[in-house]
Amino acid sequence: MTENKIYTHKIEKLLPSLGVVVFFAALAVAITGSLWSTLIILIGMTGLLIYGEKHGQVDRAYIRVEERRSSTLTVLIICIVLLPFILKGNSYFLHIAVMAGIYAIVALGLNFQIGSMGQVNFAPAAMFGVGAYTSAMVTVRLGASPWIGLIAAMIVTAGMGIVFGFPALKTRGFYFSLVTIALQTIFILLVVNTEWLGGPNGIPGIPAFSLFGQSLKKSGMLLGTPIPYQMNYIYLTFTLLLLLIVISKRLYSSRIGLAWNAIEEDEIVASTQGINLTKVKLLSFSIGSVFAGIAGSLYAHYTSFIGVEDFDFNKSLIFICMVLLGGMDNPIGVTIGAIMLTVIDEKLRIFADYRMLMYSIILIVVLVVRSQGLLPKRNRKYPLGEEN
């Protein structure tokens, strides 16, 4: 009896690590498998999440992860290190993973506005574009290092985030959404009409990141097998993604995350609790934009070419879909949503005609059936008085 109990206990303690491994295995099969296996895996994962949510398993998993944070993190890092290998070292599969990581970063940033504050920002693609263009211009036109480009992208998007956030101070709801739609449209029009930004031709020849004098665009050799250069970008992207997930989670459980939620619920009551609305709101936009800027810079230096078609309104909708599907205000959920949608999008390439139809239907179904997303937000935990 007792032995049995201990046994269960141990297994349960391993659950988080096991979960991470299962997730990566599923991801690998989803990326490398045929369309049908991908669909089955994704539907299975969705079902598992919803079931787990319903029966409190997800909550328990969260507690376990908290208990064994370092070990879970270790397993996670091992999985990321191995990711290029489980993806067969195939450059296309690796490419999907890199794009999933980049889009997840944008979605995480967007979550600060949609998920935390309930303000639907329709311009994440524009912000992603601002990051990409800034980084590209700094490197191509000024000849700076891509790392400088990344920093420049972060600074410029932080500033632009404040510009985009300014209307949020004065308006809410539909009006704010219309403002962001207008800004998204103006961004596209301005880029197209500005020769210096490449106009409709886009910007070719954006240099790749380099580390210790080694360009990340160089394919390597490992144990006698050539490894595509995408591997470098997987490590770069996922390192940043991991870091940004941690930042997002921290922000969520901090006073700022709480203030964002309070503003979503009721702005005026929030101000009667001593929340500085201006500061907190602008923070949401500038941090979210910086995330998008980081992603944009990664994207520019990864693909080496950017064109304005990649930052249009439809892309914004896809980002919104990612946040809604994954789970509002839950960084892990948002990341999972972004990865799922990126993978399925690649897998459905042959049905390109139906892509936007698919996204619109996913959006409607998620809103009607499960508006909180696959992995809804969790209760914040506070230190207890007795412990002190």
Binding site: L258, N261, D266, I268, S271, Q273, I275, N276, Y382
Partner: protein, 236 residues
Amino acid sequence: MLLELSDVYTKYGQIPMLQGVSMTIDAGDAACVLGSNGAGKTTLLKTIIGIVKPFQGSLSYRGENITPLPSHKIIQRGIAIVPEREGLFPGLSVDDNLRLGAYYEKDKYALAQRKEEVLAIFPRLRERISQQAGTLSGGERKMLGIARAILANPQLILMDEPSLGLAPALVNEVYGVIKKIKEEKKIALLIIEQNAQKALDVVDRGYIMQKGSIIGSGSRDELSENEIVKSSYLVS
């Protein structure tokens, strides 16, 4: 002197609301404002915490002119408010709501300590700590509103009709708690009420408000004897 309003005028759109209101609250003082619907009582509270800005007159708190300050700055000076219809965040957990009460408190452990004290006063809230505030009953929500205000560790709590919409038994419970706060915590109170009977049990003195002006004031006993109060607010 804790709070002082001198000759405050406000407008709601084009409609004049407060018309030359002056009043003072001292530290540890408990006062009430009696008045009927539309007398401008709620506007008074909103003016104090800076949601409504006066176009004439000024407010000072502990000798500092707070008239031009934004709401959150005034709150941070040590004023808490228990709004009329609870003013909670129904979508957030009870715990989150409490945390928001002491939003500007950065010391987590001091906060945890204080939360323990508050939860000792409101044991029901402890049971419901991870529930959404919207799922609480009316009385519990009122309690949460008060608990949240205390958690801010203020010198002054403004209460907007604490008895409104509650069953008589609950009204007694709420006022019991208010009395306890006043006696144990030494927090100054400004209670706005139509239910003069209950309010006068707790406060030391009060004001009578009509059509945006203060038309009378006095100690608890004086008010109990006042004709207007008797005829209008003590009929229950």
